[in-house]
Subunit: 192 residues, 2 copies
DNA sequence: TCCATTACAGACCGACTGTCGGTCTAGAAA
DNA sequence: TTTCTAGACCGACAGTCGGTCTGTAATGGA
């Protein structure tokens, strides 16, 4: 049970790579199963043997992309002196990573509408959101019962900027604004 | 040339109302033109006479929803004492409005993927984003060349919370966190 | 050797979007 | 009054797409 398993895994990987490219280029709706079939020189039966449907294929693609991104951000944050520094470096790394169309289209634009917001959030919690929440907690700048909401706001804000930068190209300016944004947020709760 | 024009406008409105409800309930992909046809007791030809296609119909729906939301938020902000107060009241009103499924599904989830991010942004600029940017400028808490980016981050953050509240129901808690978030942001740029 | 399991093939189905030739009628023009 | 035009509306149809189903080949454990 080795040759068979390996062949199957290889096919799945091939399909995954092709689907990732197509989804990124043409979006979920603009990509037909037919296209994937054609490029992978596979039959319908084979594809549906490995993936339950178009949605499931998309979800597998999303999962793979998120995993890769997670590793790259972890790498970028490695040398950070403290929690706040890690948060800043992570944010910067994320914005730069998200210049890739693969991430923009698949993770930020199509995923919520294809999988539904709940499912998307669940996937994010295991990756980008989870990391950010951890980093934010480590800074101790936010009281515990606001942590969840803060992490949501922060991630959404940074995602938006990633998309913005991808269109306008004003990377430095946006990064400075995000730095400023983070500085204000981390300044600690003012007296009310 | 009056009866004819009126009849046409009435048909467009009828279709728009039905499409809005269906898009909100089943999402863009889950709503078929066939459904709209059936509920509006109209023929394919007639519908395609008034709207260029499914995308165009969706865009018309989005525009109508955004316009309504714009009015309601303007109403909510009316009595605000100063710019900061207006921003806070606007944010709160927006979060509460976004408890409607119509707004969540159509404006926040489906629009970016159906129309594409650029088109979506363009529509938003004429409505929610435009208002928020104006309000933020009026507070003078953000330097001019960061204004655009800040407005993006802020809107994205608030939108995210609107979706979060819609799922978890913890309105008060989320609103307090947003209040806190705004307070920190508006506290002014710290010395660097 | 036998057989269960897995990989793969491709015909087929129903549903969907968008097109196209055409009808009907209000109301302007003659 | 008669004629003509533009716009509202109709429904058959083509083409595409996602997904199903039956069947075949080959691997590897019993």
């Amino acid at each position: 049970m080795n040759l068979k398993a390996e062949r199957g895994a290889a096919t799945r990987d091939r399909v995954l790579a092709i689907a990732t490219r197509l989804f990124a280029e043409h979006g979920y709706d603009g990509t037909s199963i037919e296209m994937v079939l054609h490029e992978s020189a596979l039959s319908r039966g084979a594809l549906y043997h490995h993936y339950a449907g178009k949605d499931a294929l998309f979800e597998a693609v999303l999962e793979a992309v998120e995993t890769r991104v997670g590793h790259e951000i972890a790498e970028a944050v490695k040398g950070a002196a403290d929690a706040e520094e890690a948060l800043r470096q992570g944010a910067r790394a994320w914005i730069r990573l998200a210049s890739e169309q693969v991430i923009q289209r698949i993770v930020l634009i199509d995923a919520p509408s294809v999988l539904g917001w709940e499912k998307w959030r669940e996937v994010e919690a295991r990756h980008a959101f989870g990391m950010l929440k951890g980093a934010l907690r480590a800074t101790k700048a936010v009281q515990d019962d606001h942590l969840e909401v803060y992490a949501h706001m922060l991630l959404a804000a940074i995602n938006e900027i990633a998309l913005l930068v991808a269109r306008t190209g004003k990377t430095e300016k946006a990064e400075r604004a995000v730095e400023d944004f983070l500085t204000r947020l981390l300044a600690g709760a003012p007296p009310r």
